[in-house]
């Protein structure tokens, strides 16, 4: 059916039209329609997808591109289009040119295509399209960051192409289904050796690790996320990073059995899954630590986004069905609360034009609605009960504990702690406290941006209070009753979480606290320098306040670790290769005809030696 075609290519078409008719009103309307259609069609197709996956094949250039809307792809596509719709509303407020619309919607098509495609050529094509479109969004504002992003993701994409080539050479097929069967048969045949399986695994891991922002390959995230139109970053970090995570699932689906057969198990866990778990754990820890130390909101949220995706990697790494359930739920919750965060940042930057903690403060009165949305996002990210964030994190904790992975579980707890730390700083630093004089005339964010925020805030609340809805669908994806309980309760082997009960308790508690605050407590003015010096003398250099170097002591503690930064390592590597290229060019093309004729003579010599010997 060509519904899939409509879902896939309306955003691209709308983007091109928006770019062509680059006028104030027309562009926004086309863009919004383009972003809304996929979600509408997905909802329409929901009943059909429940019974039987919807298939569609398309032959282009001698390749047959197969697309399938199954339960899992429907889930990922729904998450992406939800965030996409929010982004579209955000873009109405923040972007001025058709250029942004074109590439935002093109990356939207790319992501949908990645989730829906069932064969590697279509997968690779739309993967590259998604990378290219998101790259163009960043190129417009900052060349260095965008090139860093593009080089890393192109290296990932080409690693994937190499892996596709090897698979094609070994199994003679390109579509997932045949490859899956061929690999299962291959376990007994053994045409693909252990070394080659490891090569394939590493190639796929690099490709998807880059997009998901796993630690060694996360350097592009802070730059790319902060250097582009913030409402697009909602989609960029909300949906695009999910493509990487979807890829990890793909590895499980296609090569899971083969990897198990070749690599065996390690302390009772699948070796390759263990590797993914540890990558996730390290990403969570490293990204959270770096996030805490940032002074710029956008960098803070970028690192936090990398950290949260680390959660999902970790959940999948655990490998148990509960782990997959937790991971999938976290995909949804990360998309909604991180998307919300970026829209809040977009509103802040749009209205105040500032991005550093130092210049902000006391915006709660000025922008009450955005503050409320920010609060919801903060609660959800920190994993406080009424929000969806808590439910998914809770499932991941359960999975990690059940799978007897203490160190990995430890990493998540540390990560959540740190997450709470930087989120609280954002909450207090930006919204409460002393308002700098220049921010007096700040007004509330424009309506479309507010609309976008509500679109993402509502699911946070709904799925927070009723997580069963999501876990019910996830059970259908995993084809098994992984997470028990009805709409309001989640039951796993080691514990239950009654969301409704907890939320009502929280609301009541808050109400009481509100009453006490309104009638009892006396509000007193607190000077801005009321810091927590714990005894250190307040010198100009060591003046820590919520807005300036709040976590400087933590940075000093981590001094040893902060010396090694992946970023500087890659920069040096790039400079090295560029100098090598220069040296090679000077040496080989040195302009002297004689040396050129020497090259000819050398080739003749090689031919002669090959012939004579």
């Amino acid at each position: 059916m060509n519904e899939i075609l409509i879902i896939l290519f309306t955003p691209l078409l709308a983007g091109v039209l928006a770019w062509a008719f680059d006028f104030r009103g027309v562009r926004e309307v086309i863009g919004l329609i383009g972003a809304a259609v996929p979600l509408a069609y997905l909802v329409k197709l929901y009943p059909a997808v429940i019974e039987k996956p919807v298939d569609y094949a398309l032959t282009v250039g001698g390749f047959t591109l197969q697309f399938q809307l199954g339960t899992m792809s429907w889930y990922f596509a729904a998450v992406a289009s939800l965030v996409g719709l929010a982004m579209a509303f955000g873009l109405v407020a923040t972007s001025r040119s058709g250029y942004d619309w074109l590439f935002a919607l093109m990356s939207f098509t790319g992501v949908l295509g990645v989730f829906l495609s069932q064969d590697f050529i279509g997968f690779f094509l739309l993967w590259e399209l998604m990378t290219f479109a998101s790259f163009m969004m960043v190129l417009k504002r900052n060349r260095h960051e965008s090139l860093k992003y593009f080089v890393l993701s192109v290296i990932g994409a080409y690693a994937m192409l190499l892996a596709i080539g090897i698979l094609y050479a070994r199994t003679g097929a390109l579509d997932f289904e045949t490859i899956r069967q061929a690999l299962i048969i291959d376990v007994s045949l053994g045409t693909i050796g252990k070394g080659e399986t490891i090569l394939l695994f590493t190639l796929f891991l690099t490709a998807f690790g880059v997009k998901a922002g796993a630690v060694p390959l996360h350097v592009w995230a802070p730059g790319a996320y902060s250097e582009t139109d913030q409402s697009y970053t909602a989609f960029f970090s909300g949906a695009l990073s999910k493509a990487g995570v979807y890829g990890i699932l793909l590895i499980y689906m296609l090569m899971g059995y083969k990897l198990y057969a070749e690599l065996g198990t390690f302390h009772g866990h699948l070796t390759f899954a263990y590797v993914i778990a540890w990558i996730g754990a390290i990403t969570v820890v490293v990204a959270s630590f770096l996030a805490v130390l940032q002074e710029d909101i956008r960098k803070l949220f970028a690192y936090s986004s990398v950290g949260q995706v680390g959660y999902i990697l970790l959940a999948f790494g655990v490998g148990s069905p509960l782990g997959f359930a937790g991971g999938l739920f976290h995909v949804l919750s990360h998309a909604i609360f991180k998307g919300l965060f970026w829209l809040v940042t977009a509103a802040i930057i749009l209205q105040t034009g500032r991005t550093r903690f130092r210049d902000m403060g006391g915006l709660a009165e000025k922008m009450p609605f955005t503050f409320a949305m920010g609060l919801i996002a903060v609660l959800s990210l920190a994993g406080i009960p009424p929000m969806a964030g808590f439910a998914s994190k809770w499932l991941i904790y359960e999975a990690a504990i059940q799978a007897h992975m203490p160190l990995v579980a430890g990493a998540i707890f540390l990560g959540s702690g740190l997450a709470f730390a930087y989120v609280v700083r954002f909450l207090y630093g930006v919204w409460f406290g002393q308002r700098p004089s220049e921010l007096e005339d700040v007004k509330e964010a424009p309506l479309p941006l507010l609309l976008a925020m509500t679109i993402l805030a509502i699911p946070n609340l709904v799925f927070g209070v009723a997580p069963g809805v999501v876990t019910g669908y996830i059970n259908r994806i995993l084809m098994g009753d992984v997470v028990g309980g009805d709409y309001y309760r989640l039951v796993t082997q080691t514990g239950t979480y009654n969301a409704l009960l907890v939320s009502t308790a929280l609301v009541i508690g808050l109400a009481i606290a509100g009453l006490v605050y309104l009638y009892g407590a006396k509000a007193r003015r607190v000077p801005v320098t009321d810091t927590y010096q714990s005894g250190n003398p307040v010198t100009e250099e060591f003046n820590l306040s919520i807005r300036r170097n709040f976590y400087r002591p933590l940075a000093e503690a981590l001094e040893f670790w902060l010396r090694y930064s992946w970023d500087r390592f890659y920069e040096r590597l790039a400079k090295l290769s560029e100098d090598f290229a220069d040296a090679l060019r000077q040496a080989f093309y040195n302009g002297n005809v004689q040396s050129y004729s020497w090259y000819l003579a050398i080739v003749l010599l090689i031919l002669a030696l090959w012939g004579v010997l």
Binding site: T59, V60, G61, G62, I121, F124, L125, L126, E128, L129, F132, F135, L139, K140, R143, S146, L147, F150, V151, V154, I155, Y158, A159, L161, L162, I164, G165, I166, Y168, A169, S577, E578, F580, A581, D582, L584, R585, F588, Y589, G591, V593, S595, Y596, S597, Y599, L600, I602, V603, L604, I606, L607, W610, G611
Partner: protein, 495 residues
Amino acid sequence: MNGQYASLLIALPLLSAFFVPLIKGLGERGIKYYLAVITALQTGIAAWVFQQVYSTGKPIIVMAGGWKPPVGINLYIGHFAALFVLIVAVVSFFTAVFSIWSMKVQPIDKYAMLFLLLMLGATGMIATGDIFNLFVFMEITAISAYALTAYNKTGEAAEASLKYMILGGIGSSFFLIGVALIYGSLGTLNMAQIAQLAGNMNPTVAQVGLALIVFGLAVEAELFPLNAWAPDAYQAAPHAITVMFSAFVVKAGLYATARLLYLMQAVGSWHDVLKLLVAMATLTVVVAEFAALRQKDVKRMIAYSSISQVGMIAFALALGSQAGVDAGVFHMVNHAVVKALLFLGVGYVGIKLGGTAMENFQGLGKRMPLTAFALTIGSLAAVGIPLFNIFWSKVRILIAGVEAGYTWGVALILGASVVEAVYYLRFIHAMWFAGEGERMREGLAISLILLLLAALVIVIGIYPDYIWSLAQKAGSDIFNVGQYIKNVPLMEVGA
């Protein structure tokens, strides 16, 4: 109009080239328009031949002088030749229209003659079915290329032409030794008969002969150590001529290498030569990409990128599998379109803003938006972004490469194309997001051509099936030699 009229493809450019001295009186503009008319006529004939070959499915065999193949020389216009002669003619027409506006350097009548004879040489090289005739047409192409490279008469142009001449001279002499060896042992010069008799050749002679022929053609087809002349020649030649160099002169060399390589399949040491060619091709791609990284002159940068893509085509053709050859031919077609677009755009900017240094391209988006748009489409296509035409052929080449077992080669090429992505995207950034300038008037004809080529790039990108089916037919025309031998009506000439 039987098939023999296809010989007009050779006769027309020759006749009109000889006619130019007689119409010198028409003055500069007259000759330039005459040139455009002749190339248009040639495109018409090429289209007729293309339609003839692709509708009947049988190649046209033009027998010069009425003699049957091994005795006389025959032109074998199969699927590949028909497709490529059309590309040669179309690109020449575009360059002729471009040089109407761009060519200011005097003696224009001599420029027109050399232009036509370069086109003739390339057409002849692609169409001929006889080794020595291939040598003669290779020399026609080479010598007119020497003259046209030095046409600007500046120091750099003369230096570039000298380099091309010395390396081309050595290459063609060794090619001739190869031909002599093959003729010495087989007694015939016709390609089809050589393919038949190649099996029972004395192994050492076959090995030396094949190696020398491939060496001679590799200089023309710009493989790694032998392409040192290419960046200089591309940079120093007039802008219109660089378009022709990169669009089809190199392709003719590549086609000849592939044709002779696959004809001599029966030779013992064939596989070793293939391995050597694959290694050289991979090195071409890697070295050319790295060399292009920090280029100050945009034309030289795109020249390096063109050389690296040609290296990729050679890699595909030397894989020795049908999928590889098809992918190589498909890439040849895409590469011709993209590089014609890029060099035309760069040449147009070079003339309008005086020089092709990177500074002139800063903020081109504001000064010449149409050309900047066309150049952006061209560079995105060259990088291999999906929805553009080179993506399809690049994917096919790389998959065929891994299938043929050269995983390391494919990995290196992928690494090199990451480098290519970097410098092309820096170029795009320089054009659109850096520098400033006010809007300038852009010529109609040239913008039309640029937009047409850009549209072609996008159309092939979105719907590559038609071009892919052509490429498959053309690929099988090169690859299965048995069919080639059956098509050529060989006379029984044995003693």
